[in-house]
Symmetry: C2
Subunit: 358 residues, 2 copies
Amino acid sequence: MTDLASLIDLIGAPSAVAADEARARQGILTKPTGALGRLEELSIWVCSVQGACPPRVFARPRVVIFAGDHGVARTAQTSAYPPEVTAQMVLNFVHGGAAVNVLARQAGASVRVVDVSVDADPDYALSIAPEVVADRIRRGSGSIDREDAMTRAETEAAFALGRRIADEEIDSGADLLIPGDMGIGNTTPAAALIGLLANADAATVTGKGTGIDDTTWMRKCAAVRDAMRRGSEHKGDPLALLTAIGSPDFAAATGFLLQSAARGVPVILDGTISSACALVADRISYRAKAWWLAGHRSTEPAQSIALDRLDLVPVVDYGMRLGEGTGALLALQIVQSATATLREMATFGEAGVSDRDA
Amino acid sequence: MTDLASLIDLIGAPSAVAADEARARQGILTKPTGALGRLEELSIWVCSVQGACPPRVFARPRVVIFAGDHGVARTAQTSAYPPEVTAQMVLNFVHGGAAVNVLARQAGASVRVVDVSVDADPDYALSIAPEVVADRIRRGSGSIDREDAMTRAETEAAFALGRRIADEEIDSGADLLIPGDMGIGNTTPAAALIGLLANADAATVTGKGTGIDDTTWMRKCAAVRDAMRRGSEHKGDPLALLTAIGSPDFAAATGFLLQSAARGVPVILDGTISSACALVADRISYRAKAWWLAGHRSTEPAQSIALDRLDLVPVVDYGMRLGEGTGALLALQIVQSATATLREMATFGEAGVSDRDA
């Protein structure tokens, strides 16, 4: 049985002292105060989560992709792509050929992929990357428009797995974490969770996902509506909600987000899936989101609704809708730049530059 | 006498063939078509200006800061900072302590600073970095609310200097250029130029610069209005306009922008000053802007007006107002990421991933 109370107790607030020091330091760097705009805010947040000023440029940012299939994609055909793509993309991640791999290299991050609930025989990965399938919770998930995604025991196991993975990564030196996602059909449970928790209706939260046509959108919308109806009685119990209309990969990402906060390690959220999980996690601990930054604004309407609910403002907005962690990795580059300015810029005194009051 | 006709003849169009190849390649990479949003558009632009697909990640991006003082800052007191800061900041750039230096290191770019018209005895730099002051056109500029910024001969010399610097950098291997700026008071001529060329009134284009108070803003607004009145008769002659209400550093940046286009080397524009110069350069050659990308949206109202006029959409929008090249350097990281995805991602065929039509 998951001990949520103990987990909640572990989640503290980022350092207000370090944030104040950062604000003061921004005022003596060789530029007009405020001239770096949002970069200054980001640098202050980095100091608060690192508990130090000047801040350190993140040395080991790490993406963990939680992969899983979704029964609803097969039964209600809510996606433009066949479910086989999930396992194929897991191998693409392992081989370094996906967008997330390229953007991680650009941002100086590394990528781990975990098959939480892919609907494929584990053989697909055993000879290539056995560690990827070593922790699988179950094969696929129930079709949430008509049945539970999984059992309560599976939810708790997946949640614990996400927490354990956060611990493993942090113990190995990760100083910033990004939850990535892969799963054909995964915007359907995300939309249902966000719709329920943000009190938005199914048509408002249902988007085009990877690029579906209008007929598929109507089917998806009906599935989201049915799932929301099934989930409504569990709004007050986040783990029961994940059991009913979530999925194992979502439960793992939710545990990952909360454990990162408990360990005091910052997270950059990615798109629709990590925003949905953040909204669920926020119901468990309202203090956790201080450790999270919204990486990007996706084209999925549900994601913007979730970010509004969390009062998080995305760092980039490029009309992206890929998931995997890609949006967060672009934001990471901006965060690193913001951090570097606060750390490396000369002060007025050091550079012999006259301040406006001189 | 500047031979603009020959320069205009040298400016061609980026490669439509490479752009088409890039569009086609985006369609076979392991992601839904369009899922990388603006990154896909940026990668297509990069292919068009490189004339190649797949594109190369830029190997030697280079910032050139054109520094100059503005007589109007002293006579009309339009800035929050004393003019001495311009020379002090030039030395800060040389020593690597300014925001542009930090962001250039983050983006893998290098920085050169050129004193085009700083209002200080050249001694300030002679013992530290004599090359910085070797090409100075004049000391400061005329107060454009009441007199010409410089003589026509000085305008032509500064314009030629900017072209020569572009040639030097490109001949030394620069494959992407960023025009930076430094000059207390420089948003005053920028506002006047943009106001005139975009048909906007002085109050609309006059912003808060480095952070002036309301009284200073009213003085600045009057100076911009007077400068616009003085410049209005030269709207049809860009070099005469720069002579009347520009400055040597603006003339140099304008020549730099056009020569880069003539050499087929892409440029990322920065903030208000490079946008003003781009608007002037666009009057000389309407084909040049195909080689330019708008790096960021500044808080200065004139800059957004200039970008609208040029039909350029900025890559980042962080409420920045520092200049130097800082906004363009953030955009550069996004451009490099976009380029890397198109270059390095696996195709559906290579990765054995099913496409939606499979």
